[in-house]
């Protein structure tokens, strides 16, 4: 059931939006950003900051655009003198007690107070009294509270109340003494609590992990997908000097709304690990790529391949593995590490899932078998192919039974016995590809940094191996492979990198995003 459309004019532009939409959201569709602090599309409307005041013709006073619904024939002025004057006043009042510490504030460069003051605030303050001072507080978890910078928009309070459903934050005191306080003996240790850091429009709530690490303008940002669990939250990978320094959620209404869990957020250090497999190896010694591939082909000649793969690898990799075992015989197996499930109560179908891998659904779509014992059943003479698994986790019984071991991975494989060939591959933030989440939504991740040494994307190495095995696999990019798998796999029919976009598409017949 869709609401009837309402026609109005915002800044001279005609807009048609469903009835019940706020003026602020309607203005967004017209490409007009109305400055705001307390409003956030993922939170209930509070209307406390008074920043989004706009001039609506025939209304007696300025209207808060976040809390005013559109009406037929409305004429809204966002940037006329009356509303600019109002916003200038709001900004001046907000800055009365806001310290001038942008040089040492982590939010600097991505701060909405900084942006709007620069755009339309006063040049200087008329306030001559000393500013209010409150010491920095540790809110527990990964969150630090700097009360001096707080503008009391209450986004964090509403997130903990209405989305996390664990009301540990509140506004304490009154007037200019007001600060955000935690409930007695409670802190922000909940599994999704660090989202308040992203929600905070200023530098009042800071991530301890990111504190003083980098400036916002130094970071390079790439769209990606979190591989921490099978939910597949959309994220932005932020890198500096070819190292991941921070992960942030990326809005996707069908998967994670605006949020990501703390476990996924802080689980990025492995992406920068230094003990990487960086050069190809043949028969235990560093070699050229061609020599390593030839060694792998020699080992696979006439033997069955027992492939154990990490189920966080991309759809493209599982498609190529399926083709490899189709040629050599054998099977692809994966195991799924388990963890505690932690749901975000305020968002439907969003949780840190028990399955702590990103692409179990995709792996199964390409014939890989989910098992708790992926190394069981290596019969004598099989070639054990390890794809992005930890070398230390491989049981010696499997190594002993195998005739040869081919390692395709990111970790240093030099401890493995019977190592015939090793292919260094790029990890998830160093290559392109797609992942399928537990609801069957296929989502793209993009390259964020360069791979070390001679490492190549896994699909590149596997396509070379296929060619060496005598198959046709002349893929130049990950999107070529995706096009090939889309034509040969019914569930992916009609998909391409372009059609997936950055928000993904559900598999044919899956339930992805059906709830919302």
């Amino acid at each position: 059931m869709t609401a009837p459309l309402v026609n109005l004019t915002i800044e001279g532009r005609p807009v048609s939006v469903p009835a019940g939409t706020s003026i602020l959201e309607a203005a967004k569709t017209a490409g007009v950003l109305i400055p705001h602090y307390c409003y956030h599309p993922g939170l209930p409307v509070a209307g406390v900051c008074r920043m989004c005041l706009v001039d609506v013709e025939k209304a007696p006073k300025l209207m808060p655009s976040c809390a005013t619904a559109v009406a037929e024939g409305q004429v809204v002025h966002v940037h006329n003198d009356k509303s600019l004057e109002a916003r200038k006043g709001v900004l001046e009042l907000l800055l009365i007690n806001h310290p001038l510490d942008c040089p040492i504030c982590d939010q600097s460069g991505e701060c909405e107070l900084q942006d709007y003051t620069f755009q339309e605030g006063r040049q200087d303050s008329r306030y001559r009294e000393p500013k209010r001072f409150n010491p920095v507080e540790d809110f527990g978890g990964d969150v630090l509270y700097v009360p001096n910078r707080c503008i009391l928009c209450t986004r964090c309070v509403r997130f903990m109340d209405d989305v996390h459903k664990d009301a540990v934050l509140a506004v304490g005191e009154r007037g200019d003494r007001a600060v955000i306080t935690t409930a007695p003996d409670a802190g922000l240790t909940q599994p999704w609590a660090s989202n308040v850091v992203d929600l905070c429009p200023v530098g009042a709530l800071l991530s301890k992990d990111f504190l003083n690490k980098a400036r916002a303008w130094e970071l390079d940002r790439s769209a990606s997908v979190c591989t921490g669990c099978s939910q597949g939250c959309n994220i932005v990978v932020e890198t500096r000097d070819n190292a991941v320094v921070r992960l942030k959620p990326r809005a996707n209404e069908a998967v994670n709304a605006f949020f990501m869990c703390d476990e996924g957020r802080l689980n990025y250090r492995w992406l920068n690990r230094q003990d990487r497999c960086a050069v190809p190896m043949a028969n235990g010694a560093p070699a050229e790529w061609s020599t390593a591939i030839a060694a792998a082909v020699g080992a696979l000649n006439g033997k069955r391949a027992h492939v154990v793969a990490n189920a966080s690898l991309s759809n493209e990799v599982f498609f190529l593995l399926k083709r490899i075992v189709g040629k050599t015989g054998g099977s692809v197996k994966f195991d799924v590490p388990q963890g505690a499930e932690a749901a975000l109560p305020g968002v439907e179908d969003l949780a840190l899932r028990a399955d702590r891998v990103a692409n179990a659904t995709g792996a199964e779509a390409f014939g890989a078998a989910r098992t708790e014992q992926p190394y069981a059943g290596v019969s004598a003479g099989d070639v054990l192919v390890l794809v992005d698994v930890e070398p230390s986790a491989v049981p010696s019984t499997a190594l002993n039974a195998a005739s040869a071991v081919i390692f395709i991975g990111t970790a240093d494989p030099s401890g493995l016995s019977k190592l015939t060939a090793a292919f260094p591959i790029a990890n998830v933030v160093e290559s392109d590809g797609t992942l399928t989440n537990l609801r069957g939504r296929v989502q793209r991740f993009l390259q964020a940094k360069a791979a070390p040494g001679q490492a190549r994307p896994a699909w590149f190495a596997l396509a070379d191996l296929l060619i060496a095995l005598g198959e046709k696999a002349d893929y130049a990019t990950a999107s070529d492979i995706f096009a090939a798998l889309a034509t040969s796999t019914p569930a992916f029919d009609g998909m391409s990198f372009d059609s997936l976009g950055l928000k993904g598409t559900p598999l044919a017949g899956s339930m992805a995003g059906a709830g919302r």
Binding site: C102, P103, I104, S108, V136, N212, K213, A214, R215, E218
Partner: protein, 165 residues
Amino acid sequence: MTIKVKVLDRPIEQVSYVRATVKGLALTFKHMVDPHKVTVQYPDERWDISPRWRGTHRMLTTEDGKAKCVACGLCPTVCPANCIKLVPGEDEQGNRYPLVFEIDEFRCIFCGYCQEVCPEEAIHVGRHYENAEYSRDSFVYDLQRLTEQTHPVCEMWDPADQKGE
């Protein structure tokens, strides 16, 4: 074919060296008594350099001898030559400070943007030109070197006082 050179037979007063020598010596002796000197007896004497001279850097310090820098990252951002290396850190009191602050003076183009952009008035370009070193490495000034230097610093162009009067 031989080349024939025509030799002019000039009068003696034109070709004699005596007149030129006397003229030259006259100039030399004139400079010995002339008060208007151009040459400066460096290093005993030095020119006054402009208050807006932009030479090698100096980091100013607070009263307790610590660098004023808060590692905001504006100078490496604004630097057109990309010669400033900055790694921020946090001290025992929770204050932000530079763990590493290095300026490669070879790469520096002495534009003075770093001084202009600094919100803490910490980094300055110096009124100083004696920069010789024994090794190339010593031209990468670290934080200790930058704070220990004592030469005067540049007075930036002031829009209110455009001619520096």
